[in-house]
Symmetry: C2
Subunit: 474 residues, 2 copies
């Protein structure tokens, strides 16, 4: 009965949103309609609610059987109790797959709700319909114009995501998109009552549009099968894993969230090591790793030159990098001498990190310094730094950001060394504009952007370590 | 010759800014003038530069001896080479202390510059003048209207800071001020050629206005004396230490920054453990600890209830807390039943963390839930959560922040349990306004604000651990 090719999930010919709200006020389930409209879903889209009416120029049909055309994919927003009945109706309509956003099943931990979920799957299996969820956000696939949220990028990219949590997947897509990451397919699969993490991983492992696979997993249904899927996936692709529920409290939360049974942290870590999977412990860390994989050409080694502003900051960022296994080699006298030619001795620390605090007023000097450092063979890569938080006035902070960014008109590939940028966000709205522009400028130059030196050091170390393990594995 | 009472440094009767720029364009050394004017320094303030002229309504005197009144404190902005000559002139004018902002001394590592610094100190000692620096920002003391930067708070507070780095001290004051922290005295002391970290620590240990001492240290001149000062300081006050230059690269940067010789990380960590000093490894972590000490009444234990939005986020924040030694006890059935009375079963996870995603639309429900959880004896403290990053549109994010914040009109002291808030910043300027307002609202309610759950968990654990060590020490 099981279909191993899930391709049809990502290319529905028509969609019905069943149980769409008819309320006048905004309701979060409208995110599905808004998402599909915004991304330009260009096949038939039907709305269904017994109350009828109209929304966004679309007629609301009283029931699925009233829909005039064929429907092969349903997004179910109905109450949990009537979900099994919806499956029956879908079968009559010839629907191939239902994504149930609906919550209130096994994740509640209540017996009747656990039974309701089994019943749902039992009916679906009998009728030959695949279920995604329940209790999830479904599919974002920009290439086929599918989205479960507005404000998701229209363009495709090489990152495939399998996330047991809908909220975490939205957070990941939105925050990663701001850093330049684009996605092939993102699947939020919730309780995994039918289609589970192994099905999805097997699919993405063989998906030509997906080069990197990011996983947010709370629990697995079949350990042996999932492990085999990971082995297959890691042969050709880089896999990043965030295991939610790694602690006792987290595991209890996972059970309440998607009824997942978590494995021990040690088991997961050993697995990641063996298969050269990059293990992360937060969404932020996952995004840091993604931008590193996508935008930092793999450095030839662990030697980095840090260009920062501020002597004290330089000391701390050196500590951040070295304590994460990267090396900050001292600049040799001949390199220092070259920079000294046009740089005053006071207030400019020409070791490594290179603190050009005072030269900062002199853009020419910064550019020359950068060129000299780029040419130095002792460095494998360069990280530069924008921090507004230590400026004495917000006005100077904004000028500083604009000045520094004015030199990043070259693309990553044209630079002599891989380069990364740390751009620290600010909670001051007046600075936020300049900082967002700087982030966008850096992304346009195909540079990886990190929000802190600690984040940059951590992600670059993880990616270098993975490459080292991968090459020793081959 | 040495004066142990440094009190006069913080209460000068008049100040001369010697070497103030006469350029028309803004120069960073103007931060001293702007800082003093903005904070309302109300004693005589003189500007000195051989070029003469006027700035901000103040006459610029050609030399110190031309200044009509007495001068007991000088801020030296002159070139390093003429610094010793300035000391001579100060002696003739009866100056008691000079803060040399001037860089280009021993921190350059160049022999003639190291000698120049010795010469400076030698002249000063001979003339009975104390030197702060060189290569530092000097003193911020709101009570006596001293500041080295604009945009520093006018109000005083209980935190004293001794920072070898000027930039780090500005970053600390500005970022901590946004989170509600206020300061008694902040001293940036640079190369410590005369007044050093031990002098300053001995002073703050006995300063009635200072309850918490935060240290950013790159290297120490006299280990035995500094240790004794730490022992004295920790008797009555809480001490937080950030040791810059803990790695090889960091130590080299520290040498280049303030000519400091760093000790080994192990030595410092052992010392912190023994004296119940809170050891941190970044300015951000230092600020997190400060807001915890200032705004979170010490919880009776390590049991926390987390109120978050989003099931997947709940799993990860539970992991963040438990992996840092805090406990997330399961809610007992009777507490869950109380909340269930008015909360739909689907999409609201009532374990711990308590995810009220869907109830979020219903402010009454959120308030009732909060009241029930506050009354539960299984919890020692509560942490709530504002994350806009997973919202599907920026519009809903802003509404969400405003809705949540509308309930925080009560002060910390009126709440049944200590409470903390995690408010995640956003790089989106449109969200930044709402988030800054939320941060300010929380601060007005005397709540500690953290920018991430990881930061909150880390700081609360550090403070609880310090309290445990402190009580076992007494």
């Amino acid at each position: 009965m099981r279909q191993h090719d899930l391709g049809f999930l990502f290319h529905p010919n028509s969609i019905a949103l069943v149980g769409i709200t008819t309320a006048k006020t905004w309701h979060w389930t409208l995110t599905f309609l808004e998402g599909l409209l915004e991304i330009g879903f260009d096949r038939p889209l039907y709305l269904v609610n017994p109350k009828g009416g109209e929304r966004e120029g679309h007629k609301i049909y009283a029931s699925l059987k009233d829909v005039p055309g064929n429907v092969d994919y349903v997004i179910g927003l109905v109450n949990a109790q009537i979900a099994p009945k919806l499956v029956e109706e879908c079968a009559e309509k010839g629907v191939r797959a239902i994504h149930f956003c609906t919550a209130g099943f096994s994740e509640t931990g209540e017996e009747d709700r656990v039974k309701l979920e089994s019943e749902l799957v039992e009916v679906a299996r009998r009728k030959g319909i695949r279920i995604l969820g329940p209790n999830c956000m479904g599919i974002y696939c920009p290439k086929s114009r599918l989205s479960y949220s507005p404000a998701f990028p229209e363009e495709s990219g090489p990152v495939g995501v399998i996330s047991q949590s809908g909220g975490n997947s939205i957070y990941l897509v939105r925050q990663a998109a701001l850093r330049g990451v684009r996605f092939s397919k993102v699947i939020s699969y919730g309780n995994a009552s039918d289609i589970d993490e192994s099905d999805l991983l097997e699919y993405l492992a063989n998906d030509a549009d997906t080069k990197i696979i990011a996983l947010y997993i709370e629990g697995i249904k079949d350990g042996r099968r999932f492990r085999a899927a990971l082995e297959e996936a890691t042969k050709e692709k880089t896999v990043i894993l965030l295991k939610g529920g790694a602690t006792q409290g987290g595991a209890r939360a996972a059970a309440g969230h998607t009824a997942a049974l978590s494995g021990s942290r040690t088991t997961w870590e050993a697995l990641c090591k063996q298969l050269a999977i990059i293990s992360v412990s937060s969404i932020e860390e996952m995004i840091d790793v993604l931008v590193t994989l996508l935008f930092l050409p793999l450095p030839a080694g662990r030697n980095v030159v840090l260009l920062g502003a501020g002597g004290g900051a330089s000391v701390l960022i050196a500590d951040e990098f070295e304590s994460r296994g990267l090396r900050i080699p001292a600049l040799p006298p001949q390199i220092i001498a070259q920079i000294r030619e046009f740089t005053p001795i006071a207030g400019n620390i020409l070791r490594n990190p290179v603190d050009y605090s005072q030269a900062m007023m002199n853009l020419e000097g910064v550019i020359k310094t950068f060129a000299i450092l780029s040419g130095w063979e002792g460095a494998d890569f360069i990280v530069t730094f924008i921090r507004t938080g230590q400026f004495t006035t917000y006005r100077t902070a904004e000028d500083h950001v604009n000045l520094l960014m004015s030199r990043f008109s070259v693309k990553q590939g044209q630079l002599p060394k891989p380069m990364a940028m740390v751009i620290e966000p600010s909670v001051m709205p007046t600075e936020a504009e300049a900082i967002l522009a700087a982030i966008r400028g850096a992304i346009a130059s195909e540079l990886p952007v990190y929000y802190s030196f600690a984040a940059a050091a951590n992600a670059i170390n993880l990616v270098l370590s993975q490459a080292e393990r991968q090459s020793s594995r081959l």
